[in-house]
Assembly symmetry: C2
Homo-oligomer: 162 residues x 2
DNA sequence: CCTTATCTGGACAATCTATATCCAGATAAA
DNA sequence: TTTATCTGGATATAGATTGTCCAGATAAGG
């Protein structure tokens, strides 16, 4: 029961892209360097973010990525859905229909109660993810970090878009 | 982001073991037949349940498994923890310490805000699992299923322990 | 005491998923 | 035209999940 590395990577990256001014972008190699993650694989994850409408890309020389919407319109659920998809964690294989006491398909119009119970928990999980925006996380982080560190990141972003 | 099959299997199996009278048990082969799942692999999952204190085993001829506690003392969280372990789904690899703007270890006394945000969601997930007991799920299921089907299962259990 | 049925743990094998790399094509700036 | 970049496909590697097998421990029943 694990989330892929792409979730961690791209969440951090979105907090960086949030600092990119209008009309500019940062390319994948620079983002990969910033966090020391493999560039080619990160590129795949960025594609997933783009298809989910979280980031925009600009192709060609001096192209790159930028956020497609404001940080308070991006939730952790958006990112998880983009990277991991929307399959439930609990996979119901309908084993209630198996074996000597198995239910007949016609008696299975209602979903399996065990699957439903796990589904309830996943709703709670998704709601908790949805209630947390990038804006809120960045504000929290800003409160905990030194002005020098924040300035260092801002300067790095400036260098990438120069 | 997937739960193992063992979670589904053993949750269903616990609802069956709940019907086993005091002092009796059902062996793994019978349980595997009941749901048409591979016996040898199911045996591994049952070991995990036993080590977690959810079921008891009796070795030797006419041995088998039974619940170790009452159905309202067994939650979905108990089962998930037994089968899947307690590792968080979000794996923080501290990439905030990587790259040109990486934080120094001494500036990382507080947990990463992104990791904390995901941790909050996992708390919500676990709480939702913990709030659901086997007893409640079985009651729900009983309300949705025909008397004949319930009787069929009760009879099957009687045959196994005979 | 012997045989049989069962749990227990370890080693192993097969299959699937996550991770990672590479390349060719499209696109656009310089 | 050259260069830098995104895009998508193919492919490789590593790790996790799923599944099998066997030898040992344990206990019931004859």
């Amino acid at each position: 029961m694990q989330l892929g590395k792409g979730v961690e990577w791209t969440t951090h990256i979105c907090t960086i892209l949030a600092l990119v001014p209008e009309g500019k972008g940062i390319n994948v190699d620079a983002l990969a360097d910033h966090f020391e993650v493999p560039s080619a694989y990160l590129a795949k994850q960025m594609q997933l973010l783009r298809r989910a409408g979280i980031v925009q890309s600009v192709r060609g020389k001096r192209g790159g990525y930028r956020l497609a919407k404001s940080v308070d319109a991006i939730t952790l659920l958006d990112i998880v859905r983009a990277i991991e998809g929307s399959m439930p964690a609990f996979r119901c294989t309908e084993i209630r229909q198996n074996g000597p006491c198995g239910l007949k398909p016609k008696d299975c119009k209602r979903p399996c109660e065990i699957a439903s119970a796990f589904a309830k928990a996943e709703v709670a999980y998704r709601e908790a993810l949805q209630s947390q925006t990038l804006a809120a996380i960045m504000q929290e982080a800003a409160g905990n970090s030194s002005p020098e560190h924040m300035m260092g990141i801002a300067n790095w972003v400036q260098r990438q878009i120069a």
